[in-house]
């Protein structure tokens, strides 16, 4: 921008520039906008998991709004008169009839319904995987406990969203699910029947519940979720991202890409891909074909009645819990159903929500942390996490034990016992195994730092002894032992990780660059074995006493490229 202005120096000369100044005169957004555009995001794929959940939520809002144009959350009995003639003339609730209309009479309605359902499954899945990433890398530690808590609350809300959502079509499957929800509410000691009558406005099933679930599903829960998402993101922006340890990364900085344009490009790309995957699933992969289940009838049920995957663990715990009613004096009963549902779910989410404080109590670590931990470096936490996951997976498998029993011709009762025994003995086994694996991985990191990378090159010494040549990662002492300390970052384990191989020539069918040029470029960068060959003195070395170094050529490079 040369000074061509006659009025004020630096005043914009282009149209766009003038428009920008006009806007900023009124809104004063240039400062905040620049700060936003300059915000640095760490460049690691695992930071995108939460974004997938966010984008799935956007899809859910959009497709869900579309569905409300057609869905009628009413339990009034109607006679179906739509396009689908196997059910024409059947008595059913208006909710189910409108779900059928959505599938058969609204152009593209079935696509939207399935898109909504798939996005919901993806939403919960992305939340869970995001949560696992946060857990296993220790990103929940101070100062991020609040965001962890908000995250767990959002997970619970998303489960409730799913539950209310798949109940609304009022088909046979969802009605069976609703029946179980009703029984679970009834099973709560002391207030169970009162709570049930408050929720259902009387005995099961009544005429209110679909309407109440509807307003919870389209207004109350999404509003709370939306608010929590906003707070979650605000806190994230305020606290800035965590990052994995690595060159130049400290507790006081964030290394990565600025929001604009690199990160914005990638994030928008991911948004579009999430949209695309959900749309493809919604059209190509059938989900919850409600017209096959038929309207809800309390006297009917189909085999293999199962909830969506995220509720499966509760179904599993209910299936394997023993028949233990507790009869109290005065003819009061705590139903067996109470424990595997209310208590197990309550305990699981409470422990999950409180985990940051539990860990702080146990370790006494109250410091603020912005650098993440590798799971192997925190074996106790990692093992606890795997233990909890094992518990969860055994329950989820038990939630479909009838299908497994059927497909693999196993006795159903045997599957129940597998679940009962497995849920008790497998988690501790998982703990011990994970702990050993973590220690083994830690030791291997230290070994490579001390002795170098195994090159696979065997040398014969003059005395006839064979040794394997190791490539040290940095300076070595007089015994050939590496002096680098472990820094919490991945240690290169193969020669290729440190630039041992020449990089591939670009081009898919035909090379689009000269091999010799690549060779030269690599020598210039001092990388790769080829580069080393040029300057190597043939000394017949390779003994441990001189570090067992084959050459200088394979100097450790930045392990990221």
């Amino acid at each position: 921008m040369a000074a061509r202005t006659t009025t004020a120096p630096g005043a914009p000369t282009t149209r766009l520039g003038k428009a920008g100044f006009e806007i900023d005169d009124r809104l004063i957004v240039a400062g905040p906008l620049r700060r936003t555009l300059n915000k640095v995001f760490p460049d690691h794929w695992s930071f995108l998991l939460g974004e997938i959940a966010l984008y799935a939520f956007v899809i859910l809002l959009l497709s869900g709004t579309y569905l409300t144009f057609f869905f009628d959350a009413s339990m009034v009995e109607v006679e179906y008169a739509g396009e689908y003639d196997p059910l024409r003339g059947t008595q059913m609730s208006a909710a189910y009839a409108s779900a059928l209309d959505l599938s058969f009479d609204v152009r593209g309605g079935l696509f939207m319904r399935q898109l909504h359902h798939w996005a919901a499954l993806l939403f919960v899945a992305a939340i869970v995987v995001h949560l696992l990433r946060i857990f296993f890398t220790g990103a929940f530690r101070r100062p991020r406990e609040t965001n962890w808590l908000i995250g767990v609350v959002m997970l619970v809300l998303s489960l409730l969203m799913g539950l209310t959502g798949y109940t609304m079509p009022d088909d046979l499957l969802s009605g069976t699910g609703l029946r179980i929800i009703s029984a679970i509410i009834l099973s709560i000691p002391v207030i169970g029947t009162w709570a049930h009558f408050a929720v259902f406005n009387g005995d099961f099933v009544g005429t209110e519940i679909i309407g109440r679930f509807y307003i919870a599903h389209v207004l109350i829960l999404p509003a709370i979720l939306l608010g929590l998402i906003a707070v979650h993101l605000l806190i994230l922006v305020k606290q800035k991202h965590t990052q994995f340890p690595g060159p130049g990364r400290t507790e006081h900085n964030v290394v990565g890409n600025r929001l604009f344009p690199a990160f914005a490009g990638k994030a928008t790309g991911l948004l579009l891909i999430v949209f695309g995957v959900c749309a493809a699933l919604g059209g190509l992969v059938q989900i919850n074909p409600v017209w096959l289940w038929g309207p809800y009838n309390p006297a009917q049920v189909s085999a293999a009645s199962q909830p969506d995957w995220y509720i499966l663990f509760l179904d599993g715990s209910t299936r394997i819990f023993p028949a233990w009613d507790i009869n109290l004096p005065g003819n009061y009963t705590i139903p067996a159903l109470f424990w595997p549902t209310v208590v197990v779910a309550g305990a699981m989410f409470t422990i999950l929500a409180l985990y940051p404080w539990i860990e702080r109590k146990l370790t006494g670590d109250t410091a603020a942390h912005h650098l993440l931990q590798r799971p192997r470096d925190v074996p106790v936490r990692t093992s606890l996490g795997v233990m909890a996951l094992t518990f969860y997976v055994v329950l989820a498998i038990s939630g479909s034990n009838d299908v497994i029993a059927d497909k693999f011709t196993i006795s159903l009762n045997a599957m129940t016992w597998v679940g009962r025994i497995g849920v008790i003995i497998l988690p501790p086994i998982a703990y011990v195994l994970t702990y050993r694996i973590c220690l083994g991985l830690q030791q291997h990191d230290r070994e490579v730092l001390e002795h170098g990378i195994e090159t696979g090159v065997i040398r014969r010494l003059p005395n006839g002894e064979f040794i394997e040549v190791h490539q040290p990662l940095g300076p070595v002492d007089e015994h050939g032992h590496g002096q680098l300390a472990y820094g919490g970052a991945p240690v290169p384990k193969r020669m290729n990780h440190v630039g041992g191989a020449r990089r591939a020539i670009r081009g898919f069918f035909t090379p689009i660059e000269q091999p010799s040029a690549v060779e030269l470029e690599q020598q210039g960068e001092g990388r790769g074995l080829a580069a080393g060959e040029a300057s190597r003195e043939l000394t017949g070395s390779g003994r441990p006493s001189d570090g067992g170094r084959p050459s200088d050529g394979g100097r450790p490079q930045d392990a990221r490229d």
């Binding site: 696509f111 009387g202 900085n253 990565g256 344009p261 790309g269 006297a299 085999a303 159903l337």
Partner: protein, 370 residues
């Protein structure tokens, strides 16, 4: 700057910004900024935001083979995305117009079976390709920079000064001294809070009024009818079979707690039958009737395996033995299925002798008491 503003007040007195007005504009005059290049301005602004750009890997050389190839790739992918979106429109709009009808039909046309999958395919492709194109663009054509941003810890200055402002306000309010105010404020807050919440009381209903949970439509003389309303005589069923029956009252076949299983035992089952205490006469001949609603979570127990005399609930796999008064023999259920006392009326059809003697369906806190 020239202004045409002559309204009163706009010219009175000198109007200049105070000493705290400046910010970075103090450090950099418009003249200085005008001499800087775009790149320098970018980096300068970034520095004000605590960002240092360490290293920039420029994108491919303009006009190079690499660049041309990447541009071709992105262009192709975006072109295909646009094409897919267009095809989506064609399928969506054209079905039933110049393409076959999309509506479902019993003699399902190929097109109606393809309609939804094609919508998904094309929209999925359109979005995915748009995203893939953008990712290729970012990776292959944009410069890659490595930037470091300073993470500011909380500022001690901010904490102390904000704290002073807050405690100053609290101090000036005098609430610490004026106990009457804090107490009345607390009382008022609690009362107003309860007042706002109290309309939720409209949700509350007494579950114990009239024992809604413990009763069904079954009563003395109510016929056992099938789903279609037809009554049942002894002899209508084969031994070893099960039929779901409902009370012959309006809407009886959709009531949530009335569904009952009428089972005709085989001779060897009848011989082995050990009904619950006090319910030995509840059956009629080789017929017994049990509630179909599982005592565990309320699903209809549906799968009857007559070889083992077991009824299985498909929801949580509780198993009940019909020759032992429908006692639970496996799984999470704790109580037997309630038995309906039955007999035959003057016309020879099955009728109930009374309602179930206990509450049907899942267990709850005070089930034994009402």
């Amino acid at each position: 700057m020239k202004t045409h503003d002559t309204r009163p007040g706009s010219t009175g007195g000198e109007d200049i910004p105070g000493p705290l007005h400046g910010g970075p504009d103090e450090d950099h005059t418009p003249e200085q900024l005008a001499t800087m290049s775009r790149e320098e301005l970018d980096l300068l602004g970034a520095r004000y935001d605590g960002v240092e750009v360490l290293h920039v890997d420029p994108g491919p050389e303009p006009g190079s083979v690499l660049e041309k190839r990447a541009v071709r790739q992105v262009g192709l992918v975006w072109g295909l995305a646009g094409l897919s979106a267009f095809l989506f429109l064609v399928v969506y709009v054209g079905s039933g117009w110049f393409l076959p009808e999309w509506h479902w039909a019993r003699e399902g046309t190929t097109w109606s079976a393809l309609f939804t999958p094609l919508l998904g395919l094309f929209m999925g492709l359109a979005f995915t390709l748009a995203g893939v194109g953008l990712v290729i663009y970012t990776k292959k054509l944009l410069p890659h920079e490595t930037a470091v941003q300073d993470k500011h810890d909380g500022s001690h200055f901010d904490r102390v000064t904000t704290g002073a402002t807050l405690t100053g306000g609290y101090h000036n309010s005098g609430l610490a001294r004026r106990k009457l105010l804090t107490r009345s404020l607390g009382f008022m807050g609690a009362a107003v809070g309860l007042m706002v919440l109290s309309p939720l009381g409209g949700l509350i209903k007494n579950p114990n009024t009239g024992n809604v949970l413990g009763r069904t439509s079954w009563a003395e003389g109510v016929r056992l009818v099938r789903d279609d309303g037809s009554p049942i005589r002894p002899g209508d069923q084969e031994p070893g079979s099960l039929e779901t029956v409902f009370p012959a009252v309006p809407g009886g076949n959709v009531q949530s707690d009335a569904a009952t299983m009428l089972i005709r035992l085989r001779p060897e089952q009848t011989a082995a039958d050990r009904p619950r205490e006090g319910q030995a006469d509840f059956g009629y001949g080789d017929y017994v009737a049990y509630s179909k609603i599982c005592t565990h979570a309320g699903c209809p127990v549906s799968l009857y395996e007559q070889e083992t005399s077991r009824i299985l609930c498909p929801c949580h796999q509780s198993q009940f033995d019909v020759t032992q008064g429908a006692k639970p023999v496996f799984g999470p259920a704790t109580r037997s299925l309630p038995q309906l006392p039955i007999t035959v009326d003057d016309e020879g059809y099955f009728v109930a002798r009374s309602d179930y003697p206990e509450a049907v369906g899942p267990t709850y806190w005070n089930r034994e008491r009402i």
